[in-house]
């Protein structure tokens, strides 16, 4: 069972993202900001690291970029793909995400299909990726 950590300071957004992700069949947990997210990561048992991080950029205490930078310094078992979510869509915001070490970038509000498909692909969950694109007019 894939495990995803959702990090965002807005409770409504957390609920929304977790709902989309758990409906796709994944286990989700949440954190309010970078500091809590790191605590959450550290709290994972040795056989239970996260497989994906969905991280908001603008958060109090510790923003998304800082969190990802810190995350990338931790042990290898915690190193999983990071999808940054932001309201900004300028080139420099994407650059900042890359510099921090993110693997993907979504613009808020994330369309359900965008989030789920990107997550499925970065998790390597072929079934979920298929299911997500089924019925989409291409």
């Amino acid at each position: 069972m894939y495990r995803i950590l959702v990090v965002d300071d807005a409770a409504t957004v957390r609920m929304y993202h977790r709902k989309l992700l758990s409906d796709a069949g994944w286990h989700t947990e949440e954190a309010l900001n970078g500091v809590e997210a790191l605590e959450c990561v550290h709290a994972q048992e040795s056989d239970e690291a996260f497989d994906l991080y969905v991280v908001d950029v603008n958060m109090p205490r510790m923003d998304g970029y800082s969190f990802v930078r810190e995350l990338r310094r931790l042990e290898l078992r915690h190193q999983a793909p990071v999808v940054m979510v932001s309201t900004e869509a300028q080139r420099q915001d994407v650059d900042a995400a890359l510099d921090a070490g993110a693997n993907g970038y979504l613009v808020k509000p994330a369309q359900p299909l965008d989030l789920v498909l990107s997550a499925a692909l970065l998790l390597g969950d072929r079934e979920a990726a298929r299911a997500a694109t089924q019925g989409v007019r291409t």
Binding site: T12, A80, E88, A89
Partner: protein, 777 residues
């Protein structure tokens, strides 16, 4: 969790945001250069806007967005904060609160909200257009940029893009497309959207059609040509910032799309079973990993994550090429460097051609889907993250309180049962055991009750919150300067008490602003600082919460109050003359005191202090007023800490059982008939050296019976505190104290004077609980 839960959560968080915004706006007014406050304010608005975007709440989003843009400028100091700006923001937030209310009630915003929302958004944007800095090309991120990809033949772009002929610009980069939908009333605002569109810098192409169908046949005669119905799409190669500046005054009416034609990797035609969309997205993400690895200074962690991403992407894409790639990826060393992995990735991309333009674009947006359509109904997945804070619905707490209350009352029947066991069934041992067990249960019930009361306790600050705004608005209207100082807002009291406090407090504040605090000129003439101060101090004293509202205004004019009371026929002239100034001032509490000429344009409904006092007393509180003419007035509210379980003394009178709240009782005493003095209609006795007036409870309740003395000829007197004095109630019997849940009278009985409510007794009977204050009036 389903759509309804998400909506609930939205409403909760939206209200929190609005509350935080309201508070911060006032804070910023006091301290406009405080960056922290400004950023805080911005963040709340930003969060609210973000949440709106999850739902199709366009009117709300529009207003909040305008506020956000405004505040963004303010916090970057390109726009100055002003009282006018604050006003506009406060109004916009009030309007937003209305919309949120609609959402809470109906799950959506009512039709016709567009007009109001456009009005508020425009009012806010007006500040932006007026400011000198608006001419600097500051990007207004009206809507995020979308990457279009016509090359792959997939339509993931907004439908209006198809109206533009982009093939003509295939060789250009940085082509921006936008759709401008001017609002209906724009002509009346003096706007000319055609002119605005025509003069866009770097204009490449411009198309116009009707937003709604043009009128046909008979409709044409009635058609209003001044209601704008234009739908304009255009593309330009000017820098986005420049174009945004051009549209800054109508930013919310413009939608953007990046029309740059990327020569991207075409999805490999290998396997038809895998959707083209999937392949396209996988290819995009692959590019992203390459971009990531191409940047300098990456840690082993990043490389590991990138590798994992690549591995996972390959496992979702089918085909021989992908399998081969997977195999070769697996063969790379554990400690592969970023550059080696990058080289590998570039040559093994799941695509036919090499990437020409590797832009890491935010993922293309899917056609707009409403959340409701996409979120299927599925059972909850239990939240696994350790929660430090729980948000619980009010109804759940109320239910808990009810249950605990019932238990508190139910346990009271145990002593009664023990008694029966002993007396009726001669079971002494059993009786003793029941009593012992009762003691245990009693203690637990007490603890439970305290615990739930703690949960229901709210800081009084919750009520004080709105006062900042109220005082600001009213003082400005009256042309007075007033500072509000609040102390002890963390003092806690029961939720019910707090909720009942709001209205009385507002009346008191209004009076203070209206009649208390003087105009700055008057104050100066009196040697006072031009700005008046209202202090609200809250603190806990044993089992009461004391709230004092103090102003340094003109105080109550005793002479005028005296005269007015006589004028209104509330008191006799000679009686009035005998009152000391301190006592005279209390006359304002008399019903009927507040009058037409006291109505300023605020205390409009002529709410008098009598109403305030009644409201406070209804929740078992008390109000006291002290005033020094010329110096100020202080109102002291004393409130019960909790309202749920009350201890009452049960008494019997004229064959009925009645409850009297314990906190009013001074003592119970039996007075021999000879110690009761009669004087005309009144009876008195002397207790502890003081004369105590006596009233027969039966008389007060209009029960036609005399109080019954006991065998020794003594009358039972329940001495209670009333208006700082003691009064003795003559009853027939005392029956002991009891813990009860006081239920206020409802429905037809609600208007009954003299009763605080009813309570369910341990033996199933209903006890009427008295409100002695009302009775004695």
């Amino acid at each position: 969790m389903n759509q309804a839960d998400l909506l609930d959560q939205f409403v909760i968080e939206a209200r929190e945001c609005l509350e935080a915004i309201g508070k911060r706006l006032l804070d910023v007014e006091q301290d406009p250069d405080n960056d922290e406050l400004l950023n805080d304010l911005f963040r709340s608005v930003h969060t609210l806007k973000g949440n709106c975007g999850l739902f199709e709440f366009k009117p709300l989003e529009r207003v909040v967005h305008a506020g956000e843009d405004l505040l963004d400028r303010v916090r970057h100091r390109t726009l100055a904060y002003s009282a006018a700006l604050a006003d506009a923001l406060l109004e916009a937030m009030d309007y937003s609160a209305q919309l949120i209310e609609q959402i809470e009630r109906h799950g959506r915003i009512e039709d016709g909200a567009d007009a109001g929302s456009i009005a508020h958004a425009s009012a806010l944007r007006a500040f932006v257009c007026d400011s000198a800095s608006a001419s600097s090309a500051e990007a207004l991120a009206a809507l995020p940029v979308v990457a279009a990809d016509p090359a792959s033949g997939e339509d993931v772009t907004p439908s209006w893009m198809s109206r533009l002929d982009l093939a003509a610009f295939a060789s250009k980069s940085g082509v921006l497309a936008l759709r401008y939908l001017p609002e209906e009333g724009c002509f009346f605002k003096g706007e000319d959207p055609w002119r605005l569109a025509r003069t866009v810098p770097g204009l490449l192409q411009l198309k116009v059609e009707g937003a709604c169908a043009w009128p046909q046949g008979d409709e044409r005669a009635a058609w209003d040509c001044y209601q704008c119905n234009l739908d304009i799409v255009l593309c330009t190669d000017a820098p986005r910032a420049e174009v945004e500046a051009h549209f800054r005054c109508v930013a919310e009416q413009v939608a953007w799309c990046d029309a740059t034609v990327n020569v991207r990797t075409a999805a490999p035609p290998s396997d038809g079973a895998v959707s083209p969309l999937l392949r396209k997205r996988a290819a995009a993400l692959w590019n992203d990993q390459c971009e990531l690895l191409a940047r300098a200074g990456h840690s082993a962690g990043t490389v590991r994550a990138a590798r994992r991403a690549l591995t996972n992407l390959l496992s979702c894409v089918e085909g021989a090429a992908a399998s081969a790639a997977s195999a070769s990826l697996a063969e790379l060393s554990e400690e592969v460097s970023a550059s080696s992995l990058l080289t590998w990735a570039r040559s093994n991309a799941p695509a036919a051609e090499a990437v020409v333009v590797a832009t890491l674009s935010p993922d293309a947006r899917m056609p707009d889907t409403d959340i409701a359509a996409v979120l299927p109904r599925i059972e909850d997945s239990p939240p696994a993250a350790p929660q430090k804070v729980l948000k619980v619905g009010q109804e759940k707490i109320d239910r808990l309180m009810e249950l605990i209350g019932e238990m508190v009352v139910a346990k009271n029947s145990l002593p009664y049962l023990a008694q029966r066991a002993e007396e009726v069934f001669q079971q002494r041992e059993l009786a003793r055991e029941i009593k012992a067990q009762y003691a245990v249960i009693n203690r637990i019930a007490d603890d439970l009750q305290h615990a739930i009361m703690q949960v229901r306790m709210l800081p009084v600050g919750a009520v004080f919150q709105r006062f900042g705004r109220l005082i600001r608005d009213i003082s400005r209207k009256l042309g007075k300067e007033v500072n509000l100082v609040v102390e002890g807002e963390d003092t806690e009291a029961d939720k019910n008490v707090i909720e009942s406090l709001a209205d009385p407090l507002i009346h008191i504040l209004r009076n203070s602003l209206d009649h208390g605090i003087e105009l700055p000129a008057v104050r100066r003439a009196a040697g006072k600082a031009p700005a008046g101060t209202i202090r609200i101090v809250a603190r806990q004293e044993s089992d009461r919460v004391i709230i004092e509202i103090q102003d340094d205004g003109a105080g109550v004019n005793a002479a005028r109050v005296r005269d007015k009371a006589v004028e209104r026929g509330l008191i006799h002239a000679d009686q009035a003359a005998t009152l000391s100034d301190d006592d005279a001032v209390q006359l304002i509490f008399l019903p009927g005191f507040s009058t037409a000429d006291q109505i300023s344009d605020l205390s409009g409904r002529g709410v008098g202090m009598d109403v305030v006092r009644t409201a406070i007393e209804r929740i078992n509180g008390g109000v006291e007023l002290t005033s020094v003419q010329g110096q100020g007035t202080t109102l002291r509210l004393s409130l019960p800490l909790s309202m749920a379980v009350t201890t009452v003394m049960v008494v019997e009178s004229a064959g009925r059982q009645l409850g009297v709240p314990m906190d009013l009782i001074v003592e119970t005493v039996r007075v021999p008939a000879c110690d009761i003095h009669h004087f005309k209609q009144a009876r008195t006795t002397v207790l502890r050296g003081r004369v105590v007036p006596l009233r027969a409870l039966n008389d007060l309740l209009a029960l036609d019976a005399a109080p019954i003395p006991n065998d020794a000829g003594e009358l039972a007197v329940l001495v209670i505190r009333h208006d700082n004095e003691s009064v003795g109630l003559l009853v027939d019997q005392f029956q002991g104290a009891s813990d009860i849940i006081l239920k206020p009278l409802e429905g037809v009985l609600a208007g009954l004077i003299g009763f605080a409510g009813t309570a369910l007794m341990g033996d199933g009977g209903v006890l009427m609980v008295l409100n002695p204050k009302e009775l004695l009036q």
